[in-house]
Structure formats: structure tokens, C-alpha cells
């Protein structure tokens, strides 16, 4: 009964979404208060219905109800509890349901907290959101229904893909989906604004926090996924330019561009049309990512759905939403009023620069991901576009972007002074140069790119610190007051500095783990030792073990550093009982932020085995940097104040210097203007 109720609730949500798609939009266009009034409560009720159906499915998994086909295909009665829960979204049907659950959740958030939005904008936004909800619910009901029954019920299920039987799976998709789907709100706002033909001031206010929220989750989701692939797939790499990874990177890149342009729009009322376009593109890329992963177009660990019917269905949905919104943009955008002018050398200018490079980077990833697919579809030629392509296109685009970050965040709105900014960044520049030179000196000219990379990373980090520092104005107000000034800086200022610092941290991790890693691949006999970096790894032997639902061969290794035992490592190869599928569990030993990484290869008859061992200096910084970025985003979301970007008073030397307490001095620091 519970499974059937879940099914009914899902259908009810679909029917309500259809109503929501039509009536409030009609109300918004015709200015009818009653039609608009249903939008908010319906959005909340839809969330309750989809939530109910998700809970019902979860219940079926928990009690191993094998009369539900989805449970049979993806669960197993002996599975540990946590994987019974995560198994709900560890399969095609469940994950699309989770996707829709998050979609209606965001709609409900707008419904619940949107009381300060103008009614037509709110109604139209929720209606657009309901279009997307209807589309995807129809997709679920027509091709991927998780509530399909299997009667008579078998007594045991088929288990869960063992690669996915991991704590990473429990967290990774929900984070990623919150990120993907979070962009649906800015998309709906943008389409609603296009339909209504004007951009309200409230639009500008709302886009930034929503974008940030989605962006924070997407950042965490991507870095989680990357770390997961790193320790679960046993290849020692952390980014493979795999189409599925690219599918999540594209919305992240354009979402990053979006949140920067939204900043300009919010503060300076400029770049409005561009922001609308970015909002549409970003969510389109999110949907494209869903399509790539869900349609089975790609063959990859993530693509657990391989069914052409579904693929065609999502493709049609995608064409409808992306094509429709872009045509709408082409048709209505000229109606929107442009506002706000600025000089090329200004905070806005720097942000436009940022946008140009980020969109170009998005385009390069887009081409690299879709070109092979298109080629395959048209004449069946199979080519693979791998790391070399992306290193040549994506890499060079990132360098100028990183170079400009410290300038951009120190620049004043409307018209900036490059020289003054450069003066403030002297210390950061010097530090970066010195470190790059030290690296060059100690590693030799072969590693010139690595040395430059380290310099770049330090430059970004030091630039962020220097920005905060200069806001303290220690020279004029003294250390105590200076610290108080820094602590009292608005959340957005802290958010900017912290997030940019995180970018630097990640870059440092990437450069170091790529350029300075040691890799050893060999066959080892028990008792044999090998040097990996500064460590000595001894293979002690192999022993079998039994886990809750798998059997494994554990390799035992002793790690010594300069003759002293530093620890033991136990990488293993597992075979899951239900599916008889082998997986690798890499052994990882962390010291500081560097890691020693061991993965088992083939086990030979005579007890020797193939291993791959890596020493990856500073590798953890890659993911820590992402976490720092996300924290920066979080800080910026907390800053709830209304923001207006005012230019620095031009050519006017400030007169009051020491006078009134609290109101302090200097023009250069006011770059973010009133209540930055």
C-alpha cells in the first residue's frame, strides 16, 4: 500500500505541476491576482507530494520490498543499512526522482520565502519552474517509473553495483544534484523576466544568493566526486576529463561566471541581459549534464542507465527547454533595459574579463566533450578527446583568469585605478615571484611550468590575504582597530577573499601533485621493498578477508621513512558476492596534506602481485581548496544586506583623517562601496 501511495503521490504532483504551469503564468501575464495566488501554496504542496513519494520508495528499500521492481534490480537483503538508503538514488529511476525532489524543493523555497517578490514575477517564476517539473515528472512516469511492481515478488534482489557501494555514493549525487538543480531557480527567474518583458530590481537581488547556493553545493559535489574517483577507481588520478565529470564541470564554470556577473548586476545594475543569458546557459548545461549521464550516451561508471528510449525522451525535453528559452531570449532580450555604464579598468571590467574567460573555458570543455559524441553519431568515427586537448585549451584559459583575480577583487567599481591597485599588491607579487624563483632554482629549468604554476597559486592566495589586509588600514588606524576593521568586514568581502584564496590552494595542489609526483609500477614478491618518493614501501603479504557482502584480498604493506616505520597500508581487491564484480580499494596514507597511494593490480599464482604506488605531494590541497571555496561562497550567502556598488569619489582627496571615531578613511579601500 505504501509503494502504491508513493506512486499516487507522484502522479498527483505531476498533475499539480501541469496546473501550476498554466494558471499562474496566465495570471502573471493578465495581471489576475487569483490566478497568481495559487502559485505559492501549490509549489509547497508539490514538494510535499514528491517528498512523500520519495519517502515511500525509501521505505520499500529499507524493508527490502521485492515486489517493487526497482528494489529488486538495485537492492539486496543483506546490504548494510546505509547502502539500502543510498541505493534509493544509486540507480537511474531513483536518481531522477531525487533530481525532481530537489527541483520541487527549490520551487517550494521560492514559494515559502518569496513574499518580498513582486507577485507577477513570483507567479511567472514558479510557473516556469513547474514546466521543468512537469517535463521531468513526465519523463519519470513514462519511461523510468520507480514504482513499477514485480509480481510475484522474487525472494532476493540483484544487489547494487559494487563500485557504487561506497560512502561516496551516499553523499556525492545529492550534493551534485543540489548544485545542478539549484541553477533551475535562476533559470526560471530569467525566463520569467523574459516573458514579463522587464527585469525587476528584485530579480537582481534574488539571483546572487540562489546562484551562490547552487554553486557552493556544485563545488562540494564535484570535489567529492573527484576524491571518490581518486580512491575508489584506483587509477591514482583525480580528474580524468571523463565526459561525466565534464558534464558537471560545465555548469560549474558557467555558474561561476553567472555569480560574478550577477554581482555586477546587483550592485551596478549593469550586464543585465548578459546575466539572463548566463542563467539560461548554466541551467541548460545542468540539464545537458543530466542528459549525458542519464541517457547512457556515454559509457562510464556513472552511466547506469542505458536505454535509448529514455535517451530520446530526455533529448526532446532538452531541446524543448534549451531551444525554447534561447529563442525566447532572442525574441525578448531587446526589450530589456540596459543600465549602468563603466570604464574598462574597473571592478566591472575585471568581472567582464572573468566572464569572457570562464565562458570560453566552458566552450572548450563543451567542444571536447560533445565533439566526439557528435562525430560518432554522424559517421560512426570513434575518437577520444582526452587530457592533452583540455590541457592545451582549458589550461591556457585559466592562466590569465588566475592572474587577474587579485587585481579584480581590489579594483574599485565603475572606474578603477590600476596603478594604485598594483601598489597595494606589491607584497603579494614579490612573494609569488620569489617562491617561483626558489622553485625554479631547486627543481631546475625542466620544471619551469611547475615553478610558474606555484608562483601563480601563491599570487592568488597572497592577493586575497593582501586584499583583506589592506581593508584593515593598519597604517592609519593602528593594529587593534585594524583587526577590528578586518573582523567587521561584511560577509561578502570575506567571502570573496576566502573563495579566491581557495582557488589558489586548489591550483597549488594541482600543480604540486601533477609536477612533483612519484609513480612506481612494479610486480612485488612478499618481503620485497620499493622506494616511493621519500618513503620505503615493503610488501608483507596478502591475506583474504570477508566483509559484510564481499570477499577481499588485502595486501599488507609496511611504510618506512628514513628507516623508521611510518605506518601500514592495506589496499585491497574486493569481489562483491551478489554481482561477482571485482573492485579496487586503494590504500592511502596521509601525511600532512601529501599522500602515499597504493593500488593493487593483478595477483599472480606465486604470491607476487602488481602494484602501482604514487607519492603525491600536497595532493589533498586540491580538495581542501574546493572546500575553502565553498566556505567562501557560504560566507557570501550569509551577507543578506542589500547591496549597491558606488564608485570611488574621483579625484577627491579625503579631508577628514583622524577625526570622528568609527568613520574611517582612505578612498582606495571603498572599492566595494556602500555596504559592500
Amino acid at each position: 500500500m505504501i509503494a502504491e501511495l508513493g506512486h499516487f503521490a507522484l502522479i498527483l504532483a505531476f498533475v499539480m505541476a501541469l496546473v501550476q504551469s498554466v494558471l499562474p503564468m496566465l495570471g502573471a501575464v493578465k495581471r489576475d491576482a487569483r490566478l497568481m495566488a495559487i502559485a505559492r501554496p501549490v509549489s509547497i504542496h508539490m514538494f510535499l507530494m514528491v517528498g512523500l513519494s520519495f519517502a515511500a520508495l525509501t521505505y520499500s528499500y529499507l524493508v527490502s520490498d521485492f515486489s517493487v521492481a526497482n528494489v529488486v534490480q538495485n537492492s539486496f537483503s543483506q546490504k548494510p543499512l546505509i547502502y539500502k538508503i543510498s541505493g534509493v538514488w544509486g540507480n537511474h529511476e531513483g536518481s531522477v526522482l531525487l533530481w525532481v525532489l530537489i527541483l520541487v524543493f527549490f520551487g517550494a523555497l521560492v514559494g515559502a520565502f518569496g513574499s518580498n517578490l513582486p507577485a507577477p514575477l513570483r507567479a511567472a517564476t514558479l510557473a516556469v519552474q513547474a514546466w521543468v517539473v512537469s517535463g521531468f515528472l513526465l519523463f519519470i512516469l513514462a519511461t523510468s517509473n520507480p514504482f513499477e511492481r514485480q509480481l510475484p515478488a522474487p525472494i532476493e534482489g540483484n544487489g547494487l553495483n559494487p563500485i557504487l557501494q561506497d560512502i561516496g555514493l551516499a553523499i556525492h549525487p545529492p550534493l551534485l544534484y543540489i548544485g545542478y538543480v539549484g541553477f533551475s531557480i535562476t533559470f526560471s527567474f530569467a525566463v520569467a523576466a523574459l516573458i514579463l518583458g522587464r527585469l525587476d530590481a528584485a530579480w537582481a537581488r534574488w539571483v546572487r544568493p540562489w546562484t551562490l547556493l547552487a554553486w557552493v553545493f556544485l563545488t562540494l559535489g564535484i570535489s567529492m566526486g573527484s576524491y571518490w574517483a581518486y580512491y575508489e577507481l584506483g587509477w591514482g588520478g583525480w580528474w580524468f576529463w571523463d565526459p561525466v565529470e565534464n558534464a558537471s564541470l560545465m555548469p560549474w564554470l558557467s555558474g561561476t561566471a553567472l555569480l560574478h556577473s550577477a554581482l555586477v548586476m546587483e550592485k551596478r545594475d549593469a550586464l543585465k541581459v548578459w546575466t539572463v543569458l548566463l542563467a539560461i546557459i548554466t541551467f541548460s548545461l545542468s540539464m545537458l549534464g543530466t542528459f549525458l549521464v542519464r541517457s547512457g550516451v556515454l559509457t562510464s561508471v556513472h552511466a547506469f542507465a542505458t536505454d535509448p528510449q529514455r535517451g530520446v525522451f530526455i533529448l526532446v525535453l532538452l531541446c524543448l527547454f534549451i531551444g525554447g528559452s534561447l529563442s525566447l531570449f532572442a525574441w525578448r532580450a531587446p526589450l530589456l533595459k540596459q543600465g549602468g555604464i563603466f570604464a574598462p579598468i574597473s571592478r566591472e571590467g575585471a568581472l567582464v574579463f572573468n566572464n569572457l574567460f570562464l565562458t570560453a573555458a566552458t566552450a572548450s570543455v563543451f567542444v571536447g566533450t560533445l565533439y566526439p559524441l557528435a562525430l560518432d553519431a554522424f559517421d560512426g568515427t570513434k575518437i577520444s578527446v582526452g587530457a592533452p586537448f583540455f590541457n592545451l585549451t582549458f589550461g591556457p584559459l585559466m592562466v590569465p583568469l588566475l592572474l587577474v583575480i587579485p587585481f579584480g577583487q581590489s579594483m574599485a567599481w565603475k572606474r578603477g585605478d590600476l596603478l594604485a591597485v598594483a601598489q597595494r599588491l606589491y607584497a603579494a607579487m614579490a612573494l609569488a615571484l620569489v617562491l617561483a624563483l626558489v622553485m625554479l632554482w631547486s627543481w631546475g629549468a625542466d620544471n619551469i611550468l611547475a615553478a610558474l604554476g606555484v608562483g601563480l597559486a601563491v599570487w592568488v592566495m597572497a592577493g586575497s590575504v593582501s586584499e583583506l589586509w589592506s581593508r584593515g588600514k593598519f597604517s592609519s588606524v593602528g593594529p587593534l582597530k585594524g583587526i577590528r576593521r578586518i573582523v567587521g568586514l561584511p560577509g561578502s568581502a570575506w567571502g570573496t577573499a576566502v573563495a579566491h584564496f581557495g582557488v589558489g590552494v586548489t591550483v597549488l595542489g594541482i600543480v604540486s601533485a601533477t609536477a612533483f609526483q612519484t609513480e612506481v609500477v612494479l610486480t612485488m614478491k612478499p618481503g620485497q621493498s620499493v622506494d616511493v618518493g621519500s618513503y620505503q614501501v615493503t610488501f608483507d603479504g596478502l591475506s583474504p578477508a570477508t566483509g559484510p557482502n564481499y570477499i577481499e584480498d588485502i595486501g599488507r604493506f609496511t611504510v618506512r621513512k628514513a628507516g623508521v616505520v611510518a605506518g601500514t597500508m592495506t589496499p585491497s581487491k574486493r569481489v562483491y558476492e551478489a554481482s561477482r564484480m571485482p573492485t579496487t580499494e586503494a590504500g592511502i596514507m596521509t601525511s600532512g596534506v601529501s599522500q602515499l597511494y597504493l593500488a593493487l593490480g593483478e595477483i599472480h599464482q606465486d604470491g607476487s602481485l602488481d602494484i602501482r604506488a604514487y607519492f603525491k605531494p600536497l595532493v589533498l590541497l586540491i580538495w581542501l581548496g574546493c572546500v575553502v571555496m565553498a566556505i567562501g561562497g557560504g560566507l557570501s550567502i550569509m551577507d543578506r544586506r542589500l547591496r549597491v556598488g558606488a564608485p570611488t569619489p574621483s579625484r577627491r582627496r579625503q579631508t577628514s583623517s583622524s577625526g570622528t571615531a568609527g568613520t574611517s578613511t582612505s578612498g582606495a579601500g571603498t572599492s566595494t562601496g556602500a555596504g559592500s
Binding site: E4, L23, R34, V42, Q654
Partner: protein
């Protein structure tokens, strides 16, 4: 019944969610909702915020002034817009009522129930696993009983008795892979016995579709040691020798087996056929080993029929090895079969293919070359 009650509650809830707010909005002040006024409100809030920031000393007076000008510029813009657009909007009150009531009272309940009847399985109960397992034994089907023992073993994996019970049951439901695991577990927990070893070997045989692989062979050898008189292990060991093409030893094994044979036992006919084939210089030629039925069928055929059957099996094996590849043992069998069938060119070709498919394994190559020499084929590169 409860299902329909709850389902209709949900549908009624959905209808009310649409009806109530629409009813309320009718009385609400409409003008206040205009979006331009909302813009004005935002800008006014911004000015208030600016004043507070200024009072708290977060920004400098000059900047505050600039910002105020900026906001005022935006405010003015809105004001102009407001004046230019004075015509009041008329609601679409007549249609709106009909639309809202139609959606809430007609569309939602009818569409959801019709769709559900079309997609769902009305009346299908939940079937939580635990509840199904707790039904008294005599009412349970075989697979439920198996699941109960399995669940017991998941909690007590060291209960050898349980594995002993399960193993033959798995064989009966044609799940040799699990049977093999169960026999192996029972043997490792309770020690090796004739029953467990022979069961294990037969399960492996079933997995490999009649081929006696090394592991199965080891199991049969253990079984043979535990009960040297027993027929089964000796039969399978003889079969293993036959499959490997060790003609002399196989012949001896079959002959010894037949010496002790009781007339009328089912396996005797198979053993005789095998021996006859070996003595006639023929080999069992197909990879997955002909089943007893095949063999007994073969013994009833005319010479021509039999030749055709053997040719067919060889062709099938060759096809499979070429397209899917295979083990060294299978290639060996194919090459030998061609020699027996007096098709040396095919034997030569098969040898080349085999060498090609094992080109990275020097031991396999060496074995293949030895085989080639033995059969008088050319082994030069």
C-alpha cells in the same frame, strides 16, 4: 480500501491548496502587488540600509553620498515608468473563476486517478521481506525456505550444517555457482568428506558446462582418495583425461572403471562409448563436452550421422574460439579434433590462430608448439 481513502485525502488536499488561496486573493488589495511599486520598495529599503551602514561607520560619508545618488537615479527611472504606464490592469475575473474551479475540482482529481489506474497496480500490497519470511514453513515456497536459511547463514556464517543443507538445494534449483560456494564453505568449516568434495566438483562441472577444470579435478581426486571404490570420482577423472586428450591414460581409466561396473548402471553406456571412441582413435571433440544424452544419441547413429554430428561440433567450437577466444585447453582440443578428422590444413590454421591469440604468453606458445610437433604439424614461425 485504506489506500483509496488516503489517496482521495491527498487529492482533496491538492484541490483545497488551489481553491483556498484563490478565494482569499479575491479580497486582497490588488494594486499593492504591482511590480513597479515593489521596485520602489526595494530601492527605499536600500536607502534605509545605507543610512544604517553609515550610522554604524561601515562606510564613509562620501561613498554613502555616491551610493545614494546611484539609488536615486534608479528610483527616478522607476518613477517615470510608473507615470507612463497609468492604465490600470483589469483582471480576467470571469475566466479565472472557471479556470481555478475547473482545475481544482475536475482536472486534478480526474486526471490523477485516471493516470494512476493506468500506471499503477491498485490494491497491490507491500511485501516487506521479513514479513514474507515469517510465514509458517509449510506455507512457504522453496525459494522462501532458501532465503530463510540464507538469512540464518548471513548471521551465523560459521554454521557448516546450514551450508551442508543449502548446497544440494542450490544444485536442484540450477544455481551451481552458489552450490559450489556452499559446498566449499561446508568443507572448510566441517572438514572434507566424500559428499562435499563430489558435490563441489559436480557444481564446478555444471558451471563450466561439462568441462572438468583443474579445480574440479582436484576435488574429484580428493573424493577419490576419501572413497577409492566410489564410481563418480573415477568416472569424472576418466572424463578429465579424455577431455585433455591423454588418450592412453584415459583408455586405461575407462577400462578399469568398466571392470568394476555393475551391468545396467546408467553411466556404463557412456563409459563404453567413450572407450570405444578412444579406441577407434576418435576424440571427444567438442569443447563443452557432449552430455551423456548426446553421447548415447551418438552411439545410436549411423556412421555418417555421427561424422556429421562431430563435424558440427568442431565447426561450432572453431566458430566460438575465433570470435570469442578461449582457453589453451579448448584450442588444443580443436587442433587435435582436426587431426582426428583428417583435416591437416584446418589443424595447421587453428594452430596458427591459437599461437596468435596467445602471442604474449610464452609458456602457452611453447605448449602449442610441442602439440604441433606431436601431431606432425609445421611449427616454424
Amino acid at each position: 480500501m485504506i489506500f483509496w481513502f488516503v489517496a482521495s485525502l491527498l487529492a482533496v488536499g491538492a484541490a483545497l491548496v488551489i481553491l483556498i488561496p484563490a478565494q482569499r486573493a479575491r479580497r486582497a488589495d490588488f494594486a499593492a502587488e504591482d511590480s513597479l511599486s515593489a521596485d520602489m520598495a526595494v530601492y527605499k529599503d536600500q536607502i534605509d540600509e545605507l543610512d544604517r551602514d553609515l550610522a554604524r561607520g561601515l562606510i564613509e560619508p562620501e561613498t554613502a553620498g555616491e551610493a545614494r545618488i546611484e539609488i536615486a537615479r534608479r528610483l527616478l527611472g522607476v518613477d517615470e515608468l510608473l507615470k507612463s504606464r497609468s492604465s490600470a490592469n483589469k483582471g480576467m475575473s470571469r475566466y479565472a473563476t472557471a479556470l481555478i474551479q475547473g482545475a481544482a475540482l475536475l482536472f486534478i482529481p480526474v486526471a490523477s486517478i485516471v493516470l494512476y489506474l493506468f500506471l499503477g497496480v491498485p490494491g497491490a500490497e507491500d511485501q516487506p521481506l521479513q514479513a514474507r519470511l515469517n510465514v509458517p514453513s509449510q506455507d512457504q515456497s522453496l525459494d522462501v525456505l532458501i532465503a530463510r536459511v540464507e538469512q540464518h547463514l548471513a548471521d551465523n556464517p560459521n554454521d557448516g550444517q546450514g551450508w551442508d543443507i543449502l548446497a544440494p538445494v542450490y544444485m536442484r534449483i540450477a544455481d551451481p555457482a552458489r552450490a559450489a560456494t556452499a559446498y566449499a564453505k561446508a568443507a572448510s568449516l566441517l572438514g572434507s568428506t566424500y559428499q562435499r568434495e563430489i558435490g563441489y566438483g559436480e557444481a564446478l562441472l555444471a558451471i563450466d558446462q561439462g568441462i572438468v577444470n583443474d579445480e574440479a579435478r582436484a576435488a574429484f581426486e580428493r573424493a577419490n582418495r576419501l572413497d577409492p571404490e566410489a564410481v563418480k570420482p573415477r568416472f569424472y577423472l576418466a572424463e578429465a583425461l579424455t577431455q585433455e586428450g591423454r588418450v592412453e591414460e584415459a583408455r586405461t581409466a575407462w577400462r578399469r572403471l568398466l571392470e568394476d561396473a555393475q551391468e545396467g548402471a546408467g553411466w556404463v553406456e557412456v563409459a563404453r562409448t567413450r572407450l570405444a571412441e578412444l579406441q577407434g582413435g576418435e576424440l571427444a571433440t567438442d569443447a563443452p563436452g557432449p552430455t551423456a544424452a548426446d553421447v548415447s544419441a551418438a552411439s545410436n547413429m549411423t556412421e555418417a550421422d555421427r561424422a556429421a554430428m562431430i563435424e558440427g561440433m568442431v565447426a561450432g567450437l572453431s566458430e566460438r574460439l575465433t570470435t570469442e577466444g578461449g582457453g589453451l585447453q579448448e584450442w588444443t582440443r580443436l587442433i587435435r579434433a582436426y587431426v582426428v578428422l583428417k583435416r591437416p590444413e584446418d589443424a595447421q590454421a587453428a594452430l596458427e590462430k591459437a599461437k596468435n591469440s596467445f602471442k604474449d604468453e610464452s609458456t602457452a606458445i611453447a605448449q602449442l608448439e610441442a602439440l604441433g610437433r606431436e601431431l606432425g604439424l609445421s611449427v616454424s614461425q
